[in-house]
Amino acid sequence: MTVSQPIYRIENLVHRYNSDPVLAVDRLDIEPASIMGLVGPNGSGKSTLLKLMAFIFRPTQGRILFDGKSALPFDSSVRFLVTLLTQDPYLMKRTVFKNIAYGLKVRGNRENWTRPVHDALAMVGLDPDIFAHRQWDQLSGGEAQRVALAARLVLKPRVLLLDEPTASVDAASSELIRAASLRARSEWGTTLVIASHDREWLYDVCDEVIHLFKGTPTGAGRSNMVFGPWVPEENGLYSKLIGDGIRFTVSAPPNADATAFIDPAVIRILNSGEASTAENITFVDGTVIRIASEKQSGNLFADVRAGSLTLVVRVDESHLAAMTLHRGWPVTLAYRPDSIRWL
């Protein structure tokens, strides 16, 4: 009868530290049992958003509905359902075992904790025999990060918020974390929201990835943002110096500090030096950083570094056959300055 209601609904959310607003989300819905990604540059508000969604503190303005009901920190309606892996893998001054069992204890769980704790350790690839009785300060960086994650997985939460779960974790473990995230969703119906700078990994895990920029969601999917200031050129166009003698050219911006948005699909990727002389087309040289296919659409994307910028470019299958795209390959990007949108 009822339409599935979003597990999170964020309305007119504003958060300030001191007086600077760092987050402003007008509206955001998250469906149950979905896996949502959050990307954005450092300081774009990812951690703040996740902490608000974990009800660790109150937003300055606006509200967060959980399961249709407005909730606040410590509310029993969310306390045992939502858990957040914070960005800093902070552990309590206890053994690894007690750190992981803490959440069970808090839930008044009186059973034997050995089994679930050992299972959780195994899920993050740590041998319980070696690690369960280590003290909190006897771990390497990545081990600590994984123990912190185990302390969340052991709770089988309805919502699992992960803030950079793969930072400082080795390749094998980040695959384990990917597997654990997917398993949580399929076995326990967990909803996940994951912030990460490892875009490959994130696009691999998530159903949908949202971009945060200066505290505002700027759309889902891959996109490029280039910040001003812009300097006028002689031909009516504007540009920004992005490296030694390399300029990024755009059409006239609404103001000198506007942010340019470039759809990955409007950029074409050419072999280095292949630049034609077609009119209205601008070229910029770069190097491929990585190539990846988007899980949902199957589209191929290349990350290309041009000067200090990293641009995402959609790659046509036809291109791929014609050129050898891989990390380190020099390419030239072609686009029409007037295909740029302004924020």
């Binding site: 858990t83 914070t86 808090v106 969340r152 709770l155």
Partner: protein, 228 residues
């Protein structure tokens, strides 16, 4: 000098020969100090937590007040408590004057600033990430309080031990409120003051050693809290 040595020997005699007066004073000291420590920890630790944990407008002023209260002279506290519980005072009806309960009340006032100031400092030294960790694992407000305190347990323990030292060794309150009445409210410290006043320096030393022995015992019992 020789009275120090004599004091050592006498301390052993007092403790092991079962001297009635000494044991009565030991009892009085333990009763009064246990009462005041229980009260000051129960009231002071949560207050100290609040003072160290939350941000609120008058925080700095409150902190200044508590720090100043660290310098409340015992005789002063003794006088004020006396004023209240003396037969002519507002609480005279309760018959607290010259009782161990009266002493414990005064000592609680003495210990409170120490407990509050030091546990607030301990809580302030807490890692700022702890709050997010505990809430994210589902802790209630109460569990947040207790788990946070457990994280800074050495600081809270130090607060308790410092307050205990202060309470155990104070004379002014016990004298003024308790009256140093033999067999009743004579504590070890008032006994030391008395013996010293009499010129019985070695007995004073001996009783001092008895007090230190008690403190040592209490510390040994608490030292399990220190193990990692």
């Amino acid at each position: 000098m020789d009275f120090i040595l004599a004091g050592f020997i006498e301390a052993i005699r007092l403790l092991f020969s079962g001297d009635d007066q000494t044991w009565s004073a030991v009892g009085a000291t333990l009763k009064a100090s246990s009462g005041s420590m229980a009260a000051s920890l129960t009231i002071g630790v949560p207050l100290g937590f609040a003072l160290g944990y939350f941000q609120f407008p008058a925080k700095r002023q409150l902190r200044l007040l508590v720090d100043t209260a660290l310098a409340l002279p015992t005789v002063f506290i003794g006088l004020v408590v006396y004023a209240f519980i003396s037969n002519r005072g507002p609480l005279g009806e309760m018959g607290l004057l010259f009782t161990l309960t009266g002493i414990a009340i005064g000592q609680t006032i003495l210990a409170l600033p120490v407990v509050i100031a030091l546990s607030a400092t301990a809580v302030e030294s807490m890692d700022r990430h702890l709050r997010a960790l505990l809430i994210s694992l589902g802790a209630s407000r109460r569990q947040l309080l207790f788990s946070s305190l457990w994280e800074v347990r050495y600081g809270v323990l130090a607060a308790g031990l410092t307050a205990y030292g202060r309470v155990m060794t104070e004379v002014g309150i016990s004298m003024m409120v308790g009256g140093n009445i033999k067999w009743h409210t004579r504590t070890i410290t008032t006994a030391i003051a008395l013996e010293t006043g009499k010129g019985m320096f070695s007995t004073g030393i001996a009783l001092g050693l008895v007090l230190i022995a008690i403190a040592f015992g209490v510390n040994v019992c608490l030292s399990f809290l220190r193990k990692k």
